[in-house]
């Protein structure tokens, strides 16, 4: 048995309906739909076939059918064609984003809001991976006699700071000179390259070794290694609007995902190089997401550096809408971050 034209059509109709209503779809419902010129009985036969093929499932004998994960997979791979974002929405988003594109953090936050507002699902954005960004300036700011604050400005405008212990007797004038020197050396390099450059500097220099050592280890530890993944989540509670989560236990389970950013980071990283990735139900390795789909896309910052944006919703999410919005927002974020 193979999937002919008609089976495709019926399956698509079922999925479309189920995405809207979250209720098992019966043969009559499909038959009534304009464009499907068959009686419920015929549909039933086809549905029976589709069930045998693993695309549909029945919650119980006298209920309608619901799509299986396999069906969604087919749906997103073959049955779905993205329609572009509407001009009105484009304008609305552009305007909103333009107003808050000054500071990166704020921009990302705004983007997360846009994503979850536009899709009505939970959105997740991973800030650009700091280690792949290019350093634009390094500046040491004296805070007390023994402490300075190291500020690193990158090409995406992202500012990171870390406390550095400084030897006593260093004036702010000294710190400025050293900052200038550091900036000169590190400019245009990525944070992941600093180690080598520092090694070189250590060879060339005799003074301020201790201070530089402190700066280097602060960069490495605080900015590269320890750096807690900067993850912004939007619309966490949107999920509670869907009948799938009308049970508090399920809701709690879902919300718990967002309590540990580390876990979330791991999850999002998996999507790796892909331009756009869709993971349906158990394709996510996280137990709590086995009834959810995760759609992720990557955005780029200049030639280096990239981050991830994602939408988490029920497996019966409106993939078309989500893909449309994601696609557009991916570009918006890339442009805003690269433009600065």
């Amino acid at each position: 048995m193979t999937l002919d034209e008609r089976k495709f059509m019926i399956l698509k109709a079922i999925i479309d309906d189920y995405i809207m209503t979250a209720m098992p779809v019966g043969s009559r419902t499909i038959s009534r739909k304009s464009g499907v010129g068959f009686s419920p009985a015929t549909i039933r036969n086809e549905m029976s076939d589709l069930e045998e093929l693993g695309y549909l499932a029945q919650p119980h004998t006298s209920a309608g059918r619901i799509p299986s994960n396999k069906a969604y997979r087919l749906y997103v791979d073959q049955l779905l064609h993205i329609n572009g974002i509407t001009p009105e929405e484009k304008i609305r988003i552009d305007r909103y984003m333009h107003d808050r594109s000054q500071q990166v953090e704020e921009m990302i936050r705004a983007a997360a809001n846009v994503l979850s507002d536009a899709t009505q699902y939970t959105s997740v954005i991973v800030a650009p991976q700091i280690r792949s960004l290019r350093i634009r300036r390094v500046q040491l700011v004296k805070v007390s006699d023994t402490m300075a604050l190291m500020i690193v400005v990158t090409n995406a405008g992202i500012v990171k700071d870390a406390a550095v212990r400084i030897p006593e007797g260093i004036t702010s004038e000294h710190l400025f000179r050293i900052s200038e020197m550091l900036t000169e050396q590190l400019q245009e390099h990525t944070l992941s390259e600093v180690r080598q450059i520092f090694a070189q500097m250590f060879r060339d220099l005799s003074t301020h070794r201790r201070l530089l050592g402190g700066v280097m280890s602060a960069m490495e530890e605080k900015l590269v290694e320890d750096a807690p993944e900067d993850i912004i989540v939007g619309g966490t509670t949107k999920m509670l609007n869907y009948p799938e989560y009308s049970d508090v236990e399920k809701a709690k389970n879902f919300l718990s995902i967002f309590e540990s950013k580390d876990r979330l980071a791991g999850l999002l990283k998996k999507s790796g190089g892909m331009e756009i990735s869709i993971r349906i139900g158990p394709e996510n390795e996280i137990e709590e997401l086995k009834d959810c789909s995760l759609v992720t896309a990557t955005y780029r910052v200049g030639s280096h550096g990239k981050g991830t944006l994602g939408i988490i919703g029920p497996t019966r999410m409106n993939y078309r809408r989500v893909l449309t919005v994601m696609d557009y927002m991916g570009h918006v974020i890339s442009n805003l971050l690269s433009g600065e």
Copy 2:
């Protein structure tokens, strides 16, 4: 009719029981409790009186009684005596907090976690009000030919940054000189005082007016006025563990409070000067909190500057525990912030 010793005792027993179980309390339950040497019938008479006085309510005739908001008010005002935090817990908290006291933001976040872990309710912490903090350093860092980043370090170690447009042709050397000058002028003043100082500077100076104007307005707008209240929330989903919120609608309602930080900020500010404030049910003006209690305390940063920490839980929260933990954490935060 007045509240004699025995009525107090019975009321307290009912509240204590209800706080534990969230179930209407019957006369038998109270009678069984050791320390209450009366039969259910006697208790019933007293309960009937207490109901008439407005301290108890009956969900329906054949159920037990539940405490009214008035009862909680009496409870926290008169019946409750705080017991100190246990040494073990003190050590646990101290250790946890000590490990993350380097960066203010991280420390506040850690404190929010401690609060919600220790109480099992949702915690909220408002970061120190930036406008009342003393400036320690101001530094302008060149980011591009036309933009600089203004970094303000305060006495609490809190770093704020804002983008400032700079006239072309300004070198980083210039910026450093100006930063030194600004630091000298503004040091030890609070952000709310900068306007006057700038006015003075404008009078005295003839050069760099445009740049200084930009710096001033950035300080005023981005750091003082616009500054979105820095609010950290911990354990948002803790509330879902309580039977009061086993209904998704209620849960959604509750969680929506945390979607708008502005509203939350307004709510927390109300507690104003009070050392510790307890608002029960409708005493909170926010509709969504009419079944919740909000306990807030203030912490101080040095002589100036203060912030708020709070716990939000059901009206039947364990006030004793909450007050104990809050009291301790208030001191911990004050010390950590003032010590730096």
